[in-house]
């Protein structure tokens, strides 16, 4: 561990808080329909879209109508993306397929389409050997925006349900999704993409470069493409699907120590900003601060454990006789599968940032993390992505936990639980519990299925020996169920002997089970969150009394953390014992 390592971590936390506060304020303005400085430019575009779509943006929707619009929008998006990916060579006329890559097989395409629709961005394929520039832009980049927008819309709808004073309207889905794309995602993506190019990311449509190298053995081919534009929304929308196979470890995606910090801030700015945005919309900023404190405490715990474990080094390194302490000119630690420019702290922090959110981008090989370091992303995923979480998904998921904590607190003091003046009754609690249990259910069920049969075990790599094989499998389905997308990357669903997909085939079991897991664990909780929003929207607000339990003080923060940890631990502890914990406790090497 080094001074600079800790400086990276705490410097990041301070910068994030400073950025998220104004960002939350800005989002509150956007979703209350207020005027922003972008109105003169984007107002006409917004109104043009409403006109060609023939919708009245002012027309309120109840939760069922809101959900129906959301599902149809996603369904159309799914079909169009599947079509674009399966007809890759059809678009050669655009000149955006310089290497004439063929389409992926149907099963891998099913998995990829479901993955980008659900903001998971789980990738069985490697970008530079599989996809044309056209597929990356018109296919994946678009869903990077759209899936992020859908997540944010659900959070906003739930907020409206909680604070709504009359009627059943949760707002208008079409208006919400368009305003999210136009006023939040697009302008900031442009800014971020330009910063990335300024730092060294590439943005071009040329074919791959053939370079001769400085020495006779140095010849190589370098993949090119419109990287920065996709990288920007990949981080801002907590998507995480890399342009290249090695994701944010690739120097073109994440060229410097500065971009590493910058990309981490970009990942968390919306999830953290939304918490403050919530406090503002419900006119109780302290509610937002309490949730922020909850998230930040759990976040710091995860980062510290991960950094200490990675700085210590791995059993394999020590067995090989490598010294992993800090020496002059080197940070030491478990640098296996990590880049020099990020170092140990920059890799551990990035890993936590992208696994607490549904981002799932990686700048280092999670498979090569130490047992305990690798258990941290497991724990983050087991907490169901409520520590900041994905854009929107994080806020609506933690609000479900807040309602559960309020209910448990109410039971303890023997009063009808209330949240912000609204009574929480049997119907809401049933929906909350169902909504919270869907994701773990999907994760554990598909892991069990994959471990039990030969079809599932076919995806485990040769390296995945001993508990590592179980870890790979559990991580794969935990990640897909949480719509995260990071991976113990040796778990495979796509066999590709050559770049360009000729002769390639998918592992149907892993592709389909993964695809359905993602869809189920994305849209299931969304429907429950909207149903709760609808149920709360119609309730009367009663004035706070003497016995009302406060939800904006330290006691409640502790209660909330307790509930999150308890649910996560009870659900996942037995499974975690079999994989990462065994690895963390043993110095034994498996062959």
């Amino acid at each position: 561990m080094t001074f600079y390592g800790w400086a990276t971590i705490f410097g990041f936390v301070i910068l994030l808080t400073l950025l998220a506060l104004p960002f939350g304020r800005y989002m509150a303005v956007v979703y209350s329909g207020g005027r922003t400085w972008l109105d003169p430019v984007l107002g006409p575009v917004e109104r043009l879209l409403y006109r060609i779509m023939r919708v009245d943006a002012g027309e309120g929707q109840n939760w069922k109508q809101y959900a129906k619009s959301l599902i149809l929008f996603s369904l159309v998006g799914w079909l169009l993306l599947y079509f674009i990916l399966r007809t890759q060579t059809l678009w050669d006329f655009t000149g955006l397929n310089p290497l004439h890559y063929h389409s992926m097989p149907w099963n891998v395409t099913f998995n990829t389409t479901s993955s980008f629709l659900t903001n998971t961005n789980w990738q069985y394929y490697g970008g530079e050997t599989t996809l044309s520039y056209f597929s990356q832009m018109a296919g994946l980049t678009v869903q990077n925006f759209a899936s992020a927008a859908v997540g944010i819309c659900v959070a906003i709808a739930l907020i409206r349900g909680i604070v709504g004073r009359s009627g059943k309207s949760l707002g208008n889905f079409w208006s919400d999704v368009i305003r999210t794309c136009l006023y939040i995602l697009l302008p900031f993506s442009i800014l971020i993409a330009l910063v990335l190019i300024f730092q060294g990311s590439i943005q071009n449509f040329t074919t791959y470069l053939h370079v001769s190298g400085l020495t006779s053995g140095g010849a190589q081919t370098i993949a090119m493409g419109p990287v920065a534009s996709q990288e920007a929304i990949k981080m801002l929308g907590t998507n995480g699907g890399g342009f290249f196979n090695v994701n944010s470890a690739h120097p073109f995606e994440n060229p410097t120590g500065f971009t590493n910090l910058f990309e981490m801030l970009v990942v968390l700015v919306i999830p953290a900003g939304l918490v403050f945005c919530y406090g503002r919309i419900c006119e109780r900023p302290r509610q937002g601060y309490a949730i922020y404190a909850t998230m930040m405490l759990m976040f710091l715990g995860a980062v510290i454990v991960c950094y200490v474990a990675e700085a210590h080094g791995s059993p394999a390194q020590h067995a090989a006789g490598l010294h992993t302490g800090v020496i002059h000119g080197s940070s030491g630690g478990n640098l296996e599968g990590k880049e020099q420019r990020f170092g140990i702290a920059g890799s551990a922090l990035f890993d936590v940032v992208t696994t607490v959110t549904s981002c799932g981008a990686v700048n280092s090989a999670i498979e090569s993390f130490t047992g305990i370091g690798g258990a941290v992303p497991f724990a983050n995923l087991s907490a169901s992505e409520v520590i900041f979480g994905g854009v929107g998904t994080g806020l609506y998921s933690i609000l479900l936990y807040v309602l559960l904590a309020v209910f448990l607190g109410g039971l303890m003091v023997g009063r009808t639980p209330e949240y912000l003046g609204k009574k929480i009754e049997a119907r809401e609690i049933k929906l909350v519990v169902l909504g919270l249990l869907l994701t773990p259910l999907a994760a554990l069920f598909s892991t069990a299925l994959a471990i039990a049969g030969r079809a599932g075990r076919a995806s485990i790599s040769a390296v995945g020996s001993g508990p590592q094989g179980f870890s790979e499998t559990l991580y794969a389905y935990l990640s897909q169920a949480n719509n995260n997308g990071s991976a113990f990357a040796d778990y495979t669903g796509f066999i590709q002997p050559n770049a360009g997909n000729l002769g390639s085939h998918g592992v149907t079991f892993a592709d389909l089970v993964g695809g359905f897991t993602m869809l189920f664990a994305r849209y299931g909780p969304i429907l429950f969150a909207l149903a709760i929003a609808g149920s709360l929207a119609g309730k009367r607000i009663s004035p706070p009394g003497l016995g009302t339990m406060r939800t904006d003080n330290a006691t409640f923060v502790v209660l909330l953390i307790g509930v999150i940890v308890l649910v996560g631990a009870l659900t996942f502890f037995p499974a975690l014992l079999l994989g990462p914990i065994v690895q963390g406790l043993t110095g034994h090497l498996y062959s």
Binding site: M137, S212, V246, H328, G329, Q583
Partner: protein, 221 residues
């Protein structure tokens, strides 16, 4: 049915509009600005030498020589056999096939508790010692910096740590007949700092360093 149709029209039109706006216009706009404002970066910081494109500053490459046998390049498993060129600083171990393959990047995915990982690290240490111990007699396995023995993440890491560069400096200086101090001075010249002064680790860009070395020893060799 009509209610469904009324919802389908906005879903389809909006999705098509987003493809046009976010999938086509947005990347074109960024490409336009990028190519105008930062053409070098947008195209991958290409390095040309004597009219030839020899690499990218951001992409690690191999500084090795092809091995010839009976006048032909020796092949193994379809890839040419190479040997590290002692005149040049060497990049980190790479998990791609062949090493430093920037057209198909991949993690090495070596697990923390795997015997294979131990063996890979041992092999890297051995090869590092073979290259450098002759010129830096104090060098032992325990003194090998982690970045020289551990595989990088991208497989095309363009940088090495300062400690790694300082060790290799002895070899490079001896082979090129340069004073070690000259090589050390070049290393500090091509060492990049941390982001904002605190984020990440200092880096020595191997390609830039090797190019600079060639510039000073040009003519003497």
């Amino acid at each position: 049915m009509t209610a469904l149709k009324r919802q389908l029209i906005p879903a389809i039109t909006l999705m098509l509009a987003l493809i046009l706006l976010l999938g086509i216009l947005y990347p074109l706009l960024i490409t336009g600005i990028g190519q105008l404002a930062f053409p070098g970066n947008s195209n991958g910081q290409q390095v040309h030498l004597d009219g030839k494109l020899i690499g990218s500053k951001l992409i690690g490459q191999q500084f090795t020589d092809l091995v010839y046998k009976h006048g032909k390049v020796e092949m193994s498993d379809g890839e040419p056999v190479t040997t590290p060129d002692p005149r040049y600083f060497q990049t980190r171990p790479s998990g791609t096939v062949p090493a430093d393959n920037a057209a198909a990047t991949t993690f090495a995915n070596l697990g923390p508790n795997d015997l294979a990982t131990k063996q890979a690290i041992q092999a890297n240490i051995k090869s590092y010692l073979q290259q450098n111990a002759k010129y830096d007699p104090g060098l032992t396995a325990a003194k090998v910096p982690v970045d020289a023995a551990d595989t990088s993440a991208s497989g095309i890491d363009p940088d090495i740590s300062q400690a790694n560069a300082w060790i290799q400096a002895h070899r490079v200086a001896a082979v090129r007949g340069l004073p070690v101090a000259t090589v050390m001075a070049l290393i500090s010249k091509y060492t990049g700092g941390r982001g904002l002064g605190f984020s990440g680790e200092p880096t020595v860009n191997v390609l830039e360093l090797n190019l600079a070395l060639n510039r000073i020893t040009k003519g003497t060799q």
